[in-house]
C-alpha cells in the first residue's frame, strides 16, 4: 500500500500543478485540435471516403500532441531541481516512474476524450465505440509507458524537444501500427476476433515495454 500511496501522491501533485497552470493540457489540446482541423481541410478535396484516412490522422494527431505533454512532464521536474527532490525521497524509483507515467497517461487521455467527438464530427466517423475506445486506451498506455522513460532520458539534454521524438517514434511504431490497424478495422465494421493478431501485438507491446521501462528507469535517472 505504501508503494501505491507514493504513486498516487506523485499523480496528485502533477494534477494539482497542471490544474493551476493548464500548460501541458492546453498545448496538447490546441496542437491536437489544429492537427485534426488541418488534416480535415488537407484531405477533404482529395479523399472521397474520410474513414479510410481517419485512423491514421487520429493517431498522428494524438502521438504528436502526446509528445508535447511527455516533454513537458519532466521539464517540470527538472525546473528548480525537483527531480532531485523526487530521487531523494526514500521510495522505490519505480514509484516515480509509475507516478509520472500514470500522470502522462491521464493527461493524454483527457485530451483524447475532448478531441474524439470533434474528430468524429469533422471526419464523419463514429469513434465513440467501446472497442475503439479500448484501443485508444491501450495505445495511449504503451505510448505513455515508453514515452515517460525516454522523456526522463532526454530531459538533461539541450535538444530534448528534438531528441525525444527521434528516440521515441521508432520504438512506438509497432504499437502505432497495431492501433491504426485496429481502429481502421473497427471503423470498417470488422469483428475484433478477426484482428486478434493486432490486439495481441498491442497488448504485448504495452506489457513488455512498460516492464522494460520499469526495470531501466533507475539507471536512466541516476548519474
Amino acid at each position: 500500500m505504501t508503494f501505491l500511496r507514493q504513486v498516487v501522491t506523485i499523480v496528485h501533485k502533477d494534477i494539482t500543478a497542471e490544474l493551476r497552470t493548464k500548460e501541458m493540457f492546453s498545448s496538447m489540446f490546441v496542437f491536437a485540435l489544429l492537427s485534426v482541423v488541418i488534416f480535415n481541410f488537407a484531405f477533404e478535396l482529395r479523399v472521397a471516403d474520410a474513414a479510410t484516412i481517419a485512423p491514421g490522422v487520429l493517431w498522428i494527431s494524438v502521438t504528436f500532441a502526446g509528445m508535447l505533454g511527455l516533454n513537458r512532464s519532466f521539464v517540470l521536474e527538472k525546473d528548480q531541481g525537483c527531480l532531485d527532490g523526487l530521487l531523494l525521497a526514500p521510495v522505490d524509483r519505480s514509484a516515480i516512474y509509475f507516478g509520472k507515467m500514470l500522470g502522462n497517461f491521464l493527461f493524454i487521455t483527457v485530451v483524447e476524450a475532448i478531441i474524439l467527438p470533434i474528430f468524429s464530427a469533422l471526419f464523419n466517423v463514429n469513434l465513440i465505440q467501446p472497442w475503439v475506445l479500448a484501443v485508444m486506451l491501450l495505445g495511449t498506455l504503451g505510448f505513455s509507458g515508453v514515452g515517460t522513460l525516454f522523456s526522463a532520458m532526454t530531459v538533461h539534454t539541450r535538444a530534448r524537444e528534438v531528441l525525444l521524438p527521434i528516440l521515441l517514434f521508432p520504438v512506438v511504431v509497432p504499437a502505432l501500427i497495431a492501433a491504426v490497424k485496429l481502429t481502421a478495422g473497427l471503423l470498417d465494421g470488422r469483428a475484433l476476433a478477426d484482428m486478434t493478431n493486432w490486439m495481441q501485438l498491442l497488448i504485448a507491446f504495452d506489457i513488455i515495454f512498460i516492464a522494460v521501462s520499469y526495470m531501466t528507469f533507475d539507471y536512466v535517472v541516476e548519474e
Partner: protein
Amino acid sequence: MATIEIRNLSKSFGSHTALRNVDLTISEGEFLTLVGPNGAGKTTLIRIVATLSRPTNGEVWVDGWNLADGAAQVRQRIGFISHQPLLYGDLTAEENLRFYGRMYGLSDLPTRIDEVLQQVGLLARQRDPVRTFSRGMQQRLAIARAILHHPVVLLLDEPYTGLDQQAAAMLDEVMQAVGATSRTVLMTTHDLGRGLVMSQRVAILSAGQLVYQAPRADLDEVSFRQIYRESVTG
C-alpha cells in the same frame, strides 16, 4: 545522531575524473565545511553521499548504512539543501511540504508542516505559490523541506548561492534555529568566511582530491585563506 564515512571514493564521468580516492569521516554531531575552487568535485562528492549519483569506486556509509545496498535507508536519514530549492513553483509552500511529507511517509503531517514553517519564518506565506517567493524565502522553505522528516544528517551544497548578505544572514539564523549545528552536517561552499563560522572542521578539495583538513579551532580566517590559496594552487 550519525556519522558519514567516505572510503577511497572515486567518480569518473567518461574520461574525466571528478573525484580521486577521497577519504573523509564526519563524526556524530560534527559540522564539516568542504571548500574548493570551481570544478574541484565538491558537488559531485555531496551528490554521491546524497544518493543522487553512484560512485565509480569506493564506499560511502551514512549512519551505519552502506550506500550500495542501503540507499533507501540513507535517504530516510538525510536532508539535502542545494543552490536549487527542489520546490515546485506552481504549488504553495504548504502543498510542497505536504507532497514531500507523503513521499517520506510522515504521520501527523499538518502539525509537522506548521512546525517547520514556523521554524523558518514562513507560516504566514504557507498558502502562497512558491514562484512568488524571493530567492531567500525559497531557500528557507528548502530548509523546511529538508528537515521535515527529522533527518539526522544535513547535506548543504552551496546553500548561499544567489543570496545577498541579508538573506545569507537570515539563512544562518534559520539553520541555527533548526538545529543545523547539532546535527551531522556536510556543507560545501565558496564562502570561506561563512564556512568557518558555522563549522567545527574544515576541509579543502582540489582537483578531486582532499588536500587539507583541520579542526576549526586551530584556524582563523586569515590563516585559512592563506592555506586555501596554497592548497589549490600548489
